[in-house]
């Protein structure tokens, strides 16, 4: 995994998750109907993430970032296949817990890759650059999906996002030579 591929990867998953985010709320409204349920759904997400960070942190140094990122991508791809089928609030709670775990994996790995790559002296600039591209991708996705929802059902947007995640997982698993040098 070279750095450029990493940025493309982060851009892709950023797009996929921004696509679903606004519609995720619409869909929660279909399934649940009270603000406390909203609160629980998001709270569970944050809570599982918090519990997972220490473990993920330990694993990250042994297993390698690439493996963790691919777990994140494939995991999200599969979870999003379940979303269109969810029709009760407890389904959503379970999915939120799983997404909490994966979210922690992604956040941690994003940072470890950056930490391993950037040179201390130019860290500001490099991380700034990194954010430009990933934010542009996310913005494009949010705006684009605003139009998409006029044409597609909310469920089809989940499927599209799932396919994007699968693609990202597929591409991050590609072997390349710079990998060992990158990990060192």
């Amino acid at each position: 995994m070279n750095y450029k591929r990493f940025i493309v990867y982060q851009g892709t998953i950023g797009m996929a998750s921004s696509m679903i985010f606004p519609f995720y709320i619409l869909m929660l409204r279909n399934v649940g109907n009270s603000y406390s349920q909203f609160g629980w759904a998001y709270g569970l997400f944050a809570l599982t993430a918090a519990i997972c960070y220490p473990i993920i942190g330990k694993i990250a140094d042994k297993a390698g970032d690439q493996l963790l990122l691919s777990i994140y991508s494939w995991g999200m791809a599969l979870i999003l296949l379940v979303f269109p089928l969810a029709n009760e609030i407890w389904h959503v709670y379970i999915l939120q817990i799983l997404m909490g775990v994966l979210g922690a994996v992604q956040k941690n790995s994003e940072k470890t890759v950056l930490a391993r790559h950037v040179v201390k002296e130019t860290a500001g600039k490099e991380i700034g650059n990194y954010h430009i591209w990933t934010s542009i991708a996310a913005a494009a996705a949010i705006i684009g999906t605003g139009y998409l929802v006029d044409f597609f059902t909310i469920s089809s947007i989940f499927y599209i996002a799932s396919a994007l995640f699968a693609w990202s997982g597929f591409s991050i698993l590609k072997k390349d030579k710079t990998l060992s040098e990158f990990q060192a």
Binding site: L26, N30, S70, W74, A77, L78, L81, V82, P84, L85, N87, V149, D150, F151, F152, T153, I154, S155, S156, Y159, S162, A163, A166, G169, F170, L173, K174
Partner: protein, 476 residues
Amino acid sequence: MKRYLMLLVYVTLLFVSLHYFIDQRAEPITEDRNRLLPVKMKAIKTTDSTAEIQQVVLDANSEEDPIAIAGMQHSQGGHTEYPDGILLDMKPYNKILAFDAEEKTITVQSGATWRDIQDYINPYGLALKVSQSQNIFTIGGSLSVNAHGLDIRHGSLIDTVESLRLLDANGEILTLSPEQNTELFQAVVGGYGLFGIILDVTLRLTDDEMYEIHSEQLQYDDYSDYFNENVIADDSVKMHLARISLSPDSYLKEMYVINYQAMEPKGVPMDPQKLREETLIAVPKFFLGLARLNEQGKRTFWNTQKTYSASIDGKVISRNNVMRSDSEFMEYSHPENTEVLQEYFVPVKNFEAYIDDLRETLIDEEDFNLLNITIRYVEKNEKAVLSYAKEDMFSLVLLINQGTDAKSIEDTGRVVRNMIDVTLDYGGSYYLPYFGYPTKEQMAEAYPRTREFFDLKEEYDPSGRFMNIFYEEYKQ
């Protein structure tokens, strides 16, 4: 190659997910579709027991709470809502109570949907006589608007009711039919839930039949003649619908018609056909989405509709399947916009002149986003007090995309009132289950017995137990 293995697993699971997803769609999920009127109610009551419904009315009487009755809540003008009232949700009250395949009658509780009935009677080779084009509505909600649909041979919905039981404002149960409590019967059908709770209904059914679809294109000024000569005069044509163009190239000129013609041999019992489920909604949804955008999108949408109608020419379909048209592709969730319906009735003989005038009215309304017009036929029928079919009429259903802010509501309201004025000029009327854009005067003109209707309401429910926003806005 690990990653190819993963991909394989993923694709397999994708298909599993799609499979279950399509299966699950068979059960429609509904919510209040049109978000122009959010209303805070005091409580929502729902039950499948008659005694409990009776108790709700008795409690409301002692607490002096107004009750608003709700089916699937597809009506769009606050017909199921009243501020600080009790919303009585009839959906769970949906059992099939009796069925006689010989006599072709069925007795159902009012929260049942047409779909529930179709699922039950299809194996017996029976079908509904009259229902809306879609089967997602409750029987109680449909009777309360005196709904109509594609059928052109069985009169109005009120004609298919043998009898019904009504729980009135005193908590008493009355039997109503064309012979018994006639006055109340004619007020309750098309009565918008203002006279009491329809508990159960005995409906007359007809045979399920196989129809061959015939579709044709024509110009709007030929339509009335075409209809009189080729549709209504031909007994084998059982159902009919038409659409008129909103494409900029042929705006309110080009049309296509779809006729459903009974196949020989008549009267021979047919094998029950599998009931159709809605599957590929993404495709029509996409083209409707284009029409929302701009003129080019409307052109594409119309061309697709024409191509589609031509492509089904000659196909064969059962009556039950005609009466369960797709609707989900119309479901629309947008943070600021919504889609509303309007429906106008105009005498068959006046169609051409009416369309010319309507075109005039709409020509400068560039911001009025009209997406589709579907045309059907209703035979003259004045049995219900609030009857819209004062003559043999064409009905035009308009699908309109609009904003939910005050300005958009105002703008749409102005255009709607103009269109209704034109409709009334041609001896027409408009349909009441939609948003309260029309004025009281327009209602009184469209429905000559409006006054009588509201007087009957006061007579049968003097304390105003059954209330809704529609009544509040239009009582006179």
